[in-house]
Amino acid sequence: MATFGNLSDRLAETFKNLRTKGKLSAADVDGTVREIRRALLDADVALDVVKDFTAQVRERALGDEVSKALNPAQQVVQIVNEELIRILGGQQRRLEFAKKPPTIIMLAGLQGAGKTTLAGKLAKWLAKDGHTPILVAADLQRPNAVTQLQVVGQQAGVPVYAPEPGNGVGNPVTVARDGVKFAQQKLHDVVIVDTAGRLGVDAEMMKQAADIRRAIDPDEVLFVIDAMIGQDAVATAKAFQDGVDFTGVVLTKLDGDARGGAALSVASMTGRPIMFASTGESLDDFEPFHPDRMASRILDLGDILTLIEQAQGAFDEDEARKLAEKFQTDTFTLDDFLGQMQQLRNMGSIKKMMSMLPGAGAMKQQLENFDEREIVRTEAIIQSMTKAERTTPKLLNGSRRLRIARGSGSSVTEVNQLVQRFEQAAKMMKTVARGGMPNIPGMGPMPGLGGGRGKPQQAKKKGSKSGNPAKRAAENLAIASGEKPAGAGAEAPTGGGTGFGLGGRKPAVAGKPGGPTDEEMAALQKMLGR
């Protein structure tokens, strides 16, 4: 979450005074390492792992192997990223199938980690690959866990072996053993055994898990762990390793905004690979684990290096300098606005670009609502204006607006909205260029963007009213800044920074809905200056 700002922001802060330095001194590195330590702790990485990790990073940062192409902050980020991937991805592997079927997979984990749901997902995934899995209901503890597995099995189109009703009745060890026998008879090639959730400190239940393991001799024991787990991940993982000795890890609930530092802790403390990630409530939301994505997520880093490169490539330097000048001299016109937008499009898909931004995880929802074609529509409107109108938007009276609307195949309302957005953007950029802090509703960072752009979809969703959190956020922001939402036509007039690349983008980098800070503005100007 953006509660504490993301790591790249903090590193930028640490290195504010070091821009001109080419090499890192020990003191610089120490400051940075402290920030990294905090970022990792905020991401719930276990303390011992953090200590080892930061020691490693420190050593490498002081070594000579750093790239000269990057500035010090970027160098450190890169080292951190590589180290994370090394720990997470060192031993990635696939499921191992038994030479002589059936392959037996046992699931174990804490209560509420998502074992039963995962059993269904795994079964469906295997079935798609041409296997014939069967689910065995050995969770006889939780009320109606058996029923749940049956429903999940039905949804996945996979048979379920459930001889006992559950709710504390029956012996899970017997059920598991019989389940495997049953699978052999019916020629199922994969058996997935769902077990009851248990706490690592519950000796009796751990023994039961060990008994199940002994009885069925599984080919894989998957430890299912919730991505939201905190420092306890290590204690729990160790308890399960001692108790049932799992062979692989599955990370669930990755569709939330937890950074999932636990993944790192478990991988590095137990040496067991993370094999799968579960990313949603539907049975299809299941995929093999990607270490590189996880590394960026833990640091809330986004693919910032790639983004920097792309931005450097796409932004024409002269163009950018001219633009900065225009902001200052207050001669920013709709033509420039259009030029900006076209440049932005050169950078490739906006959606893709935004997903690379740090903190983007939390904004997935808004990203979904973003309509790329909106930029094309805006372009059409501007291109339907005369030269004079573009330089002096004040000329735009009612009949001119009607003509423009006709010419661009849009409505007068849309033209009005565009003009409004442009004015807000111009005003904001003027303030920024003069070094002031903008306090303009148009800056509603991502929420504003989602709201403004998402409008066409919203219209389809009946009765959503202010149900859309993005839009509500935008409106609240407008109210907070003392600006009234401008009537019915402008559903989200606050989407000011939107079509306008820089306005929308910069606050997004900050990843927090409070308007940009000084450093971000400095960074923006730096980017413009490139």
Partner: protein, 291 residues
Amino acid sequence: MAERTPWSLSGALRGMFAKKTIDADTWDDLEDALIQADFGPQITEDIVADLRAKVARYHTTDPADLQRMLREGLEERLSRLDSTLNLSARPAVVLVVGVNGVGKTTTIGKFAKFLRVYDRSVLIGAADTFRAAAVEQLATWAERAGAEIVKPQAQGQDPASVAFQTVERAIATGTEIVIIDTAGRLQTKGGLMDELTKIRRVIEKQTPIAEVLLVLDATTGQNGLAQAEAFIEHAGVTGLVLTKLDGSAKGGFVLAVQEKTGIPIKLVGQGEGINDLTGFTPHVFAQKLVG
């Protein structure tokens, strides 16, 4: 119940408090212990700085004093908010919300039992129409607790309508307390969070909601704060329930949640038995945490 290590920092702190004097290592150990209890870097720094100041002020070098100060400091921070459940309305409607797998359904079962012990009539609304077999799970708990239950009439019925029917029936039959279960949802799912707002709105058409309880899992890390913030925004949470405290997790993040959001912890769950739910007492909590 099986033998269990107590969920406390005492193990981690024992070595530190057994020493003769407070030295540099003590502070490092204290910081490590707090971080490992999921207090988070921010609160940990606060606590350590606060204790350092106190130790300097009282010129003490005895780790036992430090232990006492830590306990009292935590207790003071935890008891700043009123943790009493507000159930005087009739019917008192309690909405239970939270992310997936934190123990909402189990908590409701235990809470119903807790209320039945005080001879309150309880009606449970099974508005988790999403997860497979959630209704059956809740029905089993209701039966154990001796509470009535309103089930959805059809699979996948709108949860808000189940909630409405439950409240409607409670008013008709004069039931004292209504507990409504909702499906687990991650706080990042906008659509599902809006559904909560809707459930709330629909219930409030009939009667005000007495409590909205957010269930948090003690094993959760720093994400707990994000969860709390989102649920407060969409569901108007009035109290926190901390579950799974019988594990090895300490749930230190609730302190951050309580301080950042101003929502008090009201109940704690410590096991799978139906009686393993108690009211929250800062003194006991701090005592158990620090030892």
